[in-house]
Structure formats: C-alpha cells, structure tokens
C-alpha cells in the first residue's frame, strides 16, 4: 500500500500498458475553491479502480474533470498514451464513457433513444443510425439485460432499471474506459450486486473501469485497486484489503471499527 506522499509524477507514459488511464497531478477548482489537489492515479485495462471517501472528498469531481466537464486547474490525463484533456470532444466521448449517479433526463424519451444517444460521437451531420450503431445499441442492451425495456419511457423506469440503461448508453459509446459515479446508489442489494458483477465482467473483458463507491463491502467485492480520498487528496492507495485495513479509514471518515463488519463502525466522537 502506498500513502499520499508516494504520488510522484510517474513513470514515462510509454511504460504503461495499452488502455491504461493515467492521471498525474490533477487539480480541480470549483467556484474558486480547490476540490482536488495534485491527484495521481493509474487505472490499468482489465482492472476495477474504486474511488472511496467521505462526501465532499472530491471523488465525483475527479471523474468530471477527466471527462472534460469540469475545468482542470493543473495536471494531465492520458488514456493509452494519448492526452485526454486536450482531445477533440467527440473522440474523447468515443474512448471514455461516463455514467452519472442519476440522469437529469426527464423528457419522455424511450429507452432505445436514450441508449442511441451513446452513439452521438460516432455519427455524422445527418446523425442517422447506421447498422453498426444499431448493433452497438443492441449489444449494450443485451449486456445490461435491458433489451425488454427498449420501448419504455426512460422517466418511468425504476432506479435499478434506469441505472442499467445509463450503463447501456455508456457501453454503446464503444469506449474501453468507463467512469461510473456511484452506480449502486439507491439500488437494492440484488440490483447492486448485479451491477457490480457486470462491472467485473467488463473489466475481465479488458475494459478500464473507474468507479466511485460508498459501501465498503462493495469495494471489497469488486475493486482491484482502491484510492481513499479525503479533502481532495489521496489518503491511501492499494488493494481493497490493504486500504480497508489501514488506519486511513478512521482519519477520512471519522469512524472506528472493523471494515469486514461495517455494522461495527462507531463515530470517533462516541468513543470519546
């Protein structure tokens, strides 16, 4: 396991395997306030990297900065040795997909059309769906087990269903790197486990998966690498077992207990 002090700007990008997402010295400001400072991480293809930390630690901001939604104050992001932050926006959308915690989509769009928006970056001026686009949409719906939802309205779906559809939209982009912001938030345990299994399967197929998670048992189930964030910086980094066993959890969350038994956690204030 490595601590925050070990985050040196790294190794030459050429040393990284193909499909690797490398973040170096990333700083993000929101409203003039630094929400992420000098963050570095490497997410390899075929692995799941989990970002954990208390609310406001800067986890979502990291994802949004990588996809170009939030302005980056400093740092670089490369995917397969190619700079992401200066990449043409359509190209970036083709290689890097993002799944928000929940979509703001409220208009009565059908599920099929929502997933089809994932092909936007592949389409020309007329934006007609090609046979390849249809194939990608169909494959994405099958992968998330949402083919039967195709004709339903997106705004009438349950939380679990809409999360699957958002994931299908991300898969339809054809990107090999997927960033997900709390994909299990609001899901029951069955749907949450199914979502995690799907992410694992995507990683096993060679995708680079970076996911923000809150539940430590989920982190333990799925993550190959964990970054514990606190106040915009990485407090601890390593395998799930290493990070969860470290004392950094206490510092980040202000709780004490056994990470293997989350019900044993107590607020530090109570202990005193």
């Amino acid at each position: 396991m490595s601590g925050a002090g070990d985050q040196q700007p790294s190794a030459a990008p050429a040393a990284a395997p193909a499909g690797t997402l490398m973040v170096r010295g990333l700083s993000v400001k929101r409203g003039g306030r630094l929400v992420v400072g000098e963050l570095s991480m490497t997410a390899c293809a075929g692995t799941v990297t989990a970002l954990i930390g208390p609310n406001g630690a800067g986890k979502s901001s990291v994802l949004k900065a990588i996809i170009g939604v939030l302005p980056v104050a400093a740092g670089t992001v490369t995917l397969a040795h190619e700079e992401v932050l200066t990449m043409e926006r359509r190209r970036r959308a083709r290689v890097l997909a993002y799944v928000p915690q929940r979509s703001q989509l409220s208009a009565g769009m059908s599920v099929l059309n929502v997933v089809a928006t994932g092909r936007f970056a592949h389409q020309g001026l007329l934006a007609r769906l090609s046979a390849l686009d249809r194939q990608a949409i169909d494959r994405a719906l099958v992968l998330v087990d949402a083919r039967e939802l195709g004709e339903r309205r997106f705004d009438e779906l349950s939380g679990g269903e809409s999360q699957r559809v958002l994931l299908a939209r991300a898969l339809a982009t054809g990107a090999r790197a997927i960033l997900l912001d709390e994909p299990t938030a609001g899901l029951d345990i069955g749907h949450a486990l199914a979502a995690l299994r799907l992410l694992r399967r995507l990683a096993d197929q060679g995708c680079t998966v970076v996911v923000v998670l809150h539940h430590l048992d989920e982190v333990r189930r799925i993550a190959d690498q964990v970054l514990l964030m606190h106040q915009g910086a990485v407090l601890a980094q390593g395998t799930a077992a290493e990070v969860l066993a470290s004392g950094a959890l206490t510092q980040a969350f202000g709780v004490q207990g056994d990470p293997a038994a989350p019900w044993s956690f107590r607020l530090l204030a109570e202990e005193r």
């Binding site: 170009g68 993002y98 208009a107 769009m109």
Partner: protein, 331 residues
C-alpha cells in the same frame, strides 16, 4: 410511417386553412376588377401568418430544448420584446422623417423595408447581451433571468414609445396595432426578407436538433457524450433570435404560439428535435393561418387583432394540455 402521416395531416390542415383564408374577407371575389388585388393581399397575409407561425413554433422548440423546460417560449430571451421595440422605433422614425400623414417617403427609406431591419436590430441587441452572459459560462438560470430582465426593460421602453406616439393619431394607432399583432398589410417585400431568414433558421434548428436531444439529459451528460455545449447554447440563442425577429416583423406581437404548438406536436411525433422541428413548422403555420382566418371571420367592427385571437385560444388550450399531461404524468 406514423411520423409522415402526421406531417401529411399538418400540411393538409395548412392548405385547408390557406384555402379558407383566400375566401374570407370583407371584399368580394366576385368583383372581377378587384379580385386580383384581394387575392394578392390575402396571399401575402396568409403567407405572413404561416411563416410567423412556423418561426414562433420552432423558436419555442429550441427554447424548450435548451432550457429543458416545457414552459419556455421564444419570448423568454427578450429577443421578441427587442424586435418589437425595434419595430416601434422604425414606425416612429419613419413617421418623423417622412411624415406618416403626408405619406411622402424618401426613396432611401421605405418603411416596409426599414421595419424588418428595425426588428432584427432590436432582437440583435438582446442577443448581444445574452451572448455576453452566455460567454461567461454561467448557468442556464442566469441566462433565463437575463432574458426576463431584458423583456421587462423592453416592455417599459415599448410602453414609453407607445405613449410618445399618441400625439399623432395615425402613429398612435399604428403603434397599438403593431403591439396587438396582425398580418394585414404584409407586403411582398417583407415576405422576401422573411423567407430566407426563416429558411436558414429552420435548417439550422433541424441541424442542432440531435445535440438538443442530448441536452435534454443536462449539459454535463451531453458534454460527456461529445456535445459541444457552449456551441449549442450560442447557436440556439442566435437562431431563436432570428426566428423571433422574423415572427415579429411579420406579425407583430403574437402570443402563445411558441408554447402551444410544440406541446400539441410532442404527443404526435415524440420529443426528438429532428422530428419536432418540421412538425412544429407545419403545425405552427397551420395554427396561425387558422387563427388569422378566425380573426377575420369573427363579428367585430373591423378586424380582431391576431395577437388577441392567439392569446384567447392559446391560453385555455395550453391549460388543457397542461392538465392532461400532468394527469398522465407527462409534465
């Protein structure tokens, strides 16, 4: 298939409205000496009504897409109020220069050509202010508030100009008639100016339709899918301003078209903007042509202003649509 059927029905409604409009009016077509003049006048006003209806409806589609708010209308940007004040200023200026009563217009300043320019300039001033606000990368709410402020400012200016014009009976009457909206007296020159503006705006609105579909999920999601959000904002504002200015120069102040027609069309063709733009262009044209027919056929001493008819039909119609969509959980 269903989509093309809807377009066909809307086109049929437009043609039926236009044919009815050719027959309605104070003058009789039986008089062979005047038939040609009446037909020309009615063709011009029907064309103006159709074009203004299409412009306002598609402007509504753009605004509702950009702001992700079904209650947004082309008026919210303040561009139509700006165009209105621009038109009023031209009325006053040309009355002052030419002497409206005397009717001795100098050749370089023909009022019917100056009016479109005034409307476009008025809308342009609003657009410049909006673009400055949009360029500061602020939220859509700020943009909306800016539009509301501009509308209020232009409303006050318009009232001031109307009060100024009351010294001359003819000018005062012209200013009030312009405010109430109407397509009577539209000339071929005005149409010639409006047609290219509308054609370019409609093509552009259709072109941006796919990006606006993605914007329905919010600007962050749209950006993550490859949409150039600042460009969509900028160009949607530009084309809405051109559409509203075109509508004002053709029909003055005509209310509710930009809200009602998109709401009527969405259940028929869906929420996709590329489907909505042609449907709303046809639907808006048909709607305003029928409203103009009604304005001319209702019993009154003279003609009921078109803006009054669209407001009186549009407001209750919109209420019905709103209640129904809320009941069905659509809004």
């Amino acid at each position: 298939m269903r989509y093309w059927l809807v377009l066909l029905l809307l086109a049929a409604a437009l043609i039926a409205g236009a044919l009815a409009g050719m027959l309605i009016g104070h003058g009789s077509l039986h008089d062979l000496r005047l038939r040609g003049i009446f037909l020309e006048l009615r063709t011009c006003r029907l064309a103006a009504a159709g074009l203004a209806g299409a412009a306002l409806s598609v402007g509504g589609v753009l605004m509702q897409g950009l702001f992700r708010n079904p209650l947004a209308s082309p008026d919210v940007l303040g561009c139509s109020a700006g165009a209105h004040v621009g038109g009023q200023l031209v009325l006053i200026a040309t009355a002052g220069v030419t002497g409206l009563a005397a009717g001795s217009a100098p050749s370089w300043l023909v009022q019917e050509m100056a009016m479109p320019v005034g409307c476009l300039l008025g809308a342009g001033v609003s657009l410049v202010v909006l673009m400055l606000v949009a360029g500061r990368a602020t939220g859509l709410a700020t943009l909306l508030l800016c539009g509301v402020i501009l509308s209020s400012l232009y409303g006050a200016l318009s009232a001031f100009l109307t009060s100024l014009g009351q010294d001359s009976w003819q000018l005062g009457r012209a200013l009030v008639a312009f405010s109430l909206g109407g397509v009577d007296g539209t000339t071929p020159q005005t149409l010639l100016m409006a047609v290219p503006l509308l054609a370019i705006s409609l093509i552009a609105a259709w072109g941006w339709g796919r990006s606006l579909d993605l914007m329905l999920a919010g600007e962050e999601e749209a950006a993550s899918l490859g949409v150039d959000v600042p460009a969509v904002r900028r160009w949607t504002l530009v084309w809405t301003a051109v559409l509203t200015a075109t509508a004002v120069l053709l029909g003055g102040g005509v209310a509710f078209v930009g809200i009602v027609v998109p709401h009527l069309c969405r259940p028929l063709v869906g929420v996709g903007h590329r489907a909505l733009v042609p449907a709303c262009a046809l639907g808006g044209a048909a709607y305003l042509v029928w409203c103009d027919d009604l304005a001319r056929s209702l019993p009154a001493t003279g003609e009921i202003p078109l803006g009054v008819v669209t407001g009186m039909i549009g407001a209750p119609l919109f209420l019905v649509i709103l209640m129904r969509s809320r009941r069905e959980g659509l809004a």
